[in-house]
Structures are given as C-alpha cells and as structure tokens.
Amino acid sequence: MDAHAGQPPAEHAHPTASLYAKIGLILFILTALEVGLYEITYGEHAGAFGHSIEPFFVPLLLLMSAAKFALVAMFYMHLKQDHRLFSGVFVFPLIIATIIILSMIALMAYHLAFSRGG
C-alpha cells in the first residue's frame, strides 16, 4: 500500500444513465426468471417438466441471485469504477460471510445425517 501513498485516488467517471437503465432491465428480467423458475418447478401448475428440472432449481436460483448481486455491486455501487480498496473492504467480509453460511449448512447437514444414522 505504501507504493500508492500520495498518489491521487484511482476513481473514474460513473456509468451513464442508459447503462444504469440497461442494468435495471437485466435485474428485472433475472427476478422474473427466478419467480418463473419457481412457478414452473413448484407452482400450482407444475408439471413433468418442472420435476425434470428440480435438481437444477437451487443451483440456477443461486446463480441468478449471485448475478444480480454482482451487477448491483459493480455498477450501481460503482465498485467497477471506484478505488480497489473499496472492493477489498467489501469483498473480504463477503467471502467470510459466504464461508459462515456454507459452514453452517455443512454442519447441520452432517448433524442431521449423523443423528438419523446413529
């Protein structure tokens, strides 16, 4: 970090209104796809196709959720243009947060399997 001391911050111009609108449209489409996927798989009129895609439901949903998260963070929160220190301050705790969630899921899955097995 000392190498950068005294240098001006590496911040750039924020995106244009049209890019913001395009990102907004993508976010809206992704949300519609999430709900659509849920309705096809588990909704009142879910059919054979819904059952066939059930194993992919959670991974697809998490993928779309992650894409929405990344789009908001990169473009609306300007992490793509702003100084990398901001990204570091945000992403490092985010990685720890993800590890916490995954660890708890693994722990509980193991606990349930163990209590059912033993």
Partner: protein, 209 residues
Amino acid sequence: MSDAHAAHLETSTGLDNRKLAIWTFIGSECLFFATLISNYLVHKETWFSGPGPFAHEVWKSPTGQVFEPIIEIPLVTLGTALLLFSSLFIVLALSGAQQGHRKTLLGWLGATIMCGLFFVGMQAYEFTHFVHKGLTLKTNLFGASFFTLTGFHGTHVTIGVIWLITMWIDAYRGRVPPAKALNLEIAALYWHFVDVVWVVIFPVVYLIK
C-alpha cells in the same frame, strides 16, 4: 503505523474517509446478515408445529393439525422488483446531484423513497397476515428465524427511507450541490446494500424449499 497520526483531512489512500467508513460498515453488515441467514437456513426445517414456509402446499403436523400455506409469492415479488427499481432510481438521482440538476435529483430521489415506503408497507402487511394465520415469533423455529431475518432487513429499509427523506429535504432546500453529492452517494451505497441483501434473502426465504 507511522501514518496513524499523520492523517487529518488528507488520508494515505487519498480517498474520502466517509466513503471508506460506509464501505467498512457495509462489510461488517455482510457478516451480520450472514449470521441471520445461516440461522434461518439451519432452523427453517427444524420445527414440528404451526405454519411453515409454504406458498402452495397444505401442511399437516405430526399432531394432525392442518395449516394453510401462508407465503404470498406475487406480493413479495412486487416488493422485490420495486426495491430493485429503487436502486436504479437512486443512481439516477445521484447522477442528477453530481450534474447539479436539482429537479432530476428530487424526482428520482422521491421515486426511490416511494419504492422504499411500499416495501416497508408490504412487509408490515405480510407480518400482520402471518400473525393472523398463526405464525408469530414464538410459534416455532421457522417463525423465530423468519421474523428475525426479515425484521432486521425491514428495519434497515426503514432507516434507509428516513435517511433518504432527510436527503430529499436537504436537496429541496438546495443543500445538495454537486460539491456535496458525496453525501447522497454515501446514503445510496447504504441503500444499494439493503437491496443486495434482499437479492439474497428473497430466493433463500421465499423460493428455495
């Protein structure tokens, strides 16, 4: 460590302290919500009575009680969409503030506040609906973890709405010139964070079984 006492207004990074502070706060909030989401994921399946996290199925408890589905996906989807749109509106408001366009700033910031108010109203309705259906904080572990997670998020949204209303009043009085657009940018970063947290909560709580 030699820089510890050197930084007053100037910082070693050349970045504004307030912006770094809000990012640090947001980083800590990631950990806060991670614990609440973990808590929900662990407890949502470990209950034996009362209404459960169902949108379509009727659930029968081991004691023979029948519980109707309580989750209303269409309403929550609308709230989610409006929260996402509010993120778009606030960046447009920020763009207006940075360019000195007061009407643009007031218009988009007002739209953001309206979306936030709708979301808070939606959540108040949902909580009331759940209580009428028999799900409270004390009913079962699903209820406890659900109300804790979504309640804390709703509190964050409410704080955000109050913050944005104060920003709108400041802007109306002409106190948010381009030189002070950073004040709005900091509020916007908080608002976006509240939005991205919901981006995670929405599928985890309402869609994933």
